[in-house]
Symmetry: D2
Subunit: 161 residues, 4 copies
């Protein structure tokens, strides 16, 4: 059994047709796992629905608490890309003995051109086979939490070297 914590991010943004703005309504993760006919048991829990630029230290502590207290040892977290690396560092310092994989999307799942389903398939897979530790899985690649940064100009995750 995998545990999947939803925290928001581009992944789950939607278009509000009244205001013309992007907003959060509900997570799409359950519908994405259904589309992927995912046969790995996954317990989904929405911890928060935030743009990761608005995530506070207290929010990160909440996520870390949930990672420590849940029964599962293999965890996927969906997260905004802008501060995914910061959250990974908090988890690495405060959660021991679990495989935690953070993932997200460059384009909302609700929009046709999203990388979300590809990333979710990837994160679910890495979470089953990587050793204990905190990892970032984006666009087919996995990174150790202490060797990754987001190149904001390019919209891509890279190693520090």
């Amino acid at each position: 059994m995998l545990r999947l914590f939803v925290t928001g991010g581009t992944f789950d943004k939607e278009y509000d047709e009244i205001s013309g703005a992007l907003f959060f309504k509900d997570t799409h993760v359950d519908e994405m796992l259904a589309l992927g006919r995912c046969r790995v048991p996954v317990a989904i829990e929405t911890v928060m629905l935030l743009d990761s630029l608005q995530m506070t230290d207290a929010d990160r502590d909440t996520i870390a608490d949930r990672c420590r207290s849940c029964a599962e040892t293999h965890i996927v977290i969906t997260h905004g890309t802008d501060t995914m690396v910061e959250t990974a560092a908090v988890l690495a310092r405060s959660v021991a003995g679990k495989t935690i994989v953070l993932t997200g999307a460059m384009v909302p799942y609700a929009f046709g051109s999203s990388d979300g389903l590809f990333n979710l398939g990837s994160a679910i897979s890495f979470a089953q086979v990587l050793p204990a530790g905190v990892w970032v899985a984006m666009n087919g690649t996995h990174f150790a939490w202490d060797d990754v940064k987001k190149d904001k100009a390019e919209g891509a995750f890279k190693t520090l070297r």
Copy 2:
């Protein structure tokens, strides 16, 4: 660098609007990797475009030859689900020292409700981290080649036990 061999299967079927039948035109794997913004280098090669029920022993030998002769040691193969397990067995007997992951789809990628993108993200990920050997990756799960069967009534892959 990963090597990806295309062999056809449901993955790449399309709808012929003149005849109303399903057929193969070209692989969609390159467009799927673009959609996933895949940042792992992948060398794609279309070996054949076959419904896997039509695949012969000679076809399987061709696939095995390509696995042996290519420079890469980590390989993904897209394949029809009906005989994926047979091809996996042929590869296990004839290719040594390489990680080979077979994947496919229950619904063509060209149709809205496909599991293809999820499976491709999953297979690309498993291929990078699983040890040498032949594996089947479908719907978030990975199976060793000698412990998997397709349950055709249910449309799902399962272990033999």
Copy 3:
């Protein structure tokens, strides 16, 4: 109020992921009207779900009966393209004083590349403003029932001249 009769056709075909064949489950017309945020009141009725090559004279009589007996004077019929013109001729001979627009799709709505939503928007519009008579509306064009044929090689509807 428009009346919409569903009779099947490519429009409503789906992919059976167990058998790999195309089949009918339910109509998609209600979900298509919801996607189009259609604000014209439409009463939807599924009369049959048939590939139009399998439609019999008795089936066409059933459709004509429903057109005559319904309260509405403006009617859209979704129909397979192969025999749409034959059904139009039957309706022209047996239903008087109503505007009837037949439409369909070259590619099933459930597949990403369908013309179905465009055709449905078109047929709903033509049905509101064309005079009484029987019409075929496909791919932006409307044809009188006695001046239209399907060019099967090209997959297009054309006038007889």
Copy 4:
């Protein structure tokens, strides 16, 4: 031959995966007509790509000029919904003897849940059969330019009565 003038609006907005904001790149109208397998000849011209809240009197004069000077007498205009009614009024006062149909979308075409393709099929159809005058076609309904308003709270076009 229909003339189609692109002016922007929700219809053509896209998601910028670097900034996370919505923006205009190019019109999608040609790809939408291809998806609809539209067989009515349509001459597409991008006049501007604007959010209609930013459209000025000078912009509306430009659109009216193009409507007067083009050879075609049947015209579709894609336009943001917020000021579509204002532009319709300008056109009604300054263009004579042509059938002009304004349309738009509540959700960008590039996002999966768009009403754009339905509206485009509808507008193309109304433009062929409505008499000379200026019309708004949204979500299956058509309105005369002087009997329509956008209900912004509800996101719907309505008659004035």
